[in-house]
Assembly symmetry: C2
Homo-oligomer: 236 residues x 2
């Protein structure tokens, strides 16, 4: 928790009050926070700055906010379309990509996504929110990503992809493509990453016919969470 | 397990036999392997290729090896010096960096490494070996990284660093450095990454005085496992 991310409902003009067990425990056990300590805070969707701890008990922490005038760090110019990973991988991947600055995430069904993954409790809005918050707290950011679920590949292809590509360059990460992943890109990008086992050839063909470029990350097969971090870091 | 990594002791001229529960369970439950299936295998430290499954029981799998004439994928030209992370982070980080192709890893004590981490069972040679093997199996590689433990920062600075830097460019990843992480490097590199909380200023000064260049990955604070993957992917 490199930033205490405050919900607007926890803030009045000059003070913030938090009462949830997770953050209180962290303040007690990790920060070992004491009255008078200045900590980094940020308001969800807003600015960041410092706050002084007025009181800390087992039940609440009360902060006096200083002028919050620091902006959140820049976002990556990317919309990430990720074939739904298995639940534990999803949780970690959401934290990684949120920390790295992704603000638009579509979780997509593809042929090699196990259908049972769509029933996982990890897909509940509150669970997803939890992982996004952990990513923001890690990276000192205040702007939550949007996460959209898309349970049909064809529906995505026909319904959403044309609009997404009208303003972005589409890049499909897939082993065996001719071109290597580009580096140091700053144009708006739609990055598509397949599941463990990859997109099926038909899916890759459809994405390329729709206007995406294929690219690869080299001969090594990486886990989804490693691949996504590696792709984002190389691209931007 | 994208590759069945065979210990030389499991191989005779044209056959391989594996008997450990982990790989047998994986063959049964994930691969759902059947007699006659061709799977990708590799011999530790050697070549890769295909093998046909002759028999699979609860107790052993017997393979007929085809000509193993594929080389392991290229290694990254890097020696990674990593301040010892907390045990669970260490485990995952070893898997990530092995999958990415790192072959030389030094785990280093620095001021902000909790001393208790050095007592963790995760540092036992057999546990480390396990994570390296998982990384190789993921990435289809056969060459195990060397992992060295260095429990003293000064000892490292005076004893090992000069030699390491005589053949490599040293790069210290540290927030607030003037230069950004370089991209697309192919020269031999010594990459030094601090613990959660970072190197202390004195440590950074000493590393820079010894001839390393400082660099940063941007304003976001990343977890060690995310940062290391991001650094390796951007550098190479």
């Amino acid at each position: 928790m490199n930033l205490i991310l405050l919900d607007p409902s926890e803030v009045d003009a000059h003070h913030a009050r938090i009462t949830d067990a997770r953050r209180l425990t962290h303040l007690h056990d990790v920060h070992r926070a004491q009255q008078g300590d200045r900590l980094t805070v940020g308001i969800q969707g807003g600015a960041m700055g410092k706050a002084s701890l007025i009181t800390l008990s087992q039940h609440e922490a009360l902060f006096a906010l200083e002028d919050l005038c620091e902006s959140a760090p820049p976002a990556l110019p990317v919309h990430l379309v990720l074939a739904l990973p298995r639940p534990r991988m999803l949780a970690r991947t959401l934290e990684h990509v949120t920390a790295l600055g992704v603000k638009e995430i579509t979780l997509l069904h593809t042929k090699r996504v196990e259908k049972s993954y769509w029933q996982s409790p990890e897909l509940r809005a509150d669970k997803i929110h939890q992982h996004l918050v952990l990513g923001l707290e890690q990276a000192r950011d205040t702007l939550l990503p949007n996460v959209t679920l898309c349970k049909g590949f064809k529906a995505f292809l026909e319904g959403q992809l044309p609009q997404l590509l009208s303003e972005r360059r589409g890049l499909v990460a897939h082993p065996g493509m001719e071109n290597a992943c580009p580096r140091d890109v700053d144009e708006p990008t739609l990055l598509l990453v397949g599941p463990e086992g990859g997109f099926i050839p038909w899916e890759v063909e459809q994405l390329i016919q729709a206007g995406c470029d294929g690219m690869h990350l080299g001969p090594r097969i990486l886990r989804v969470e490693t691949a996504v971090t590696a792709l984002l870091s190389r691209l931007f």
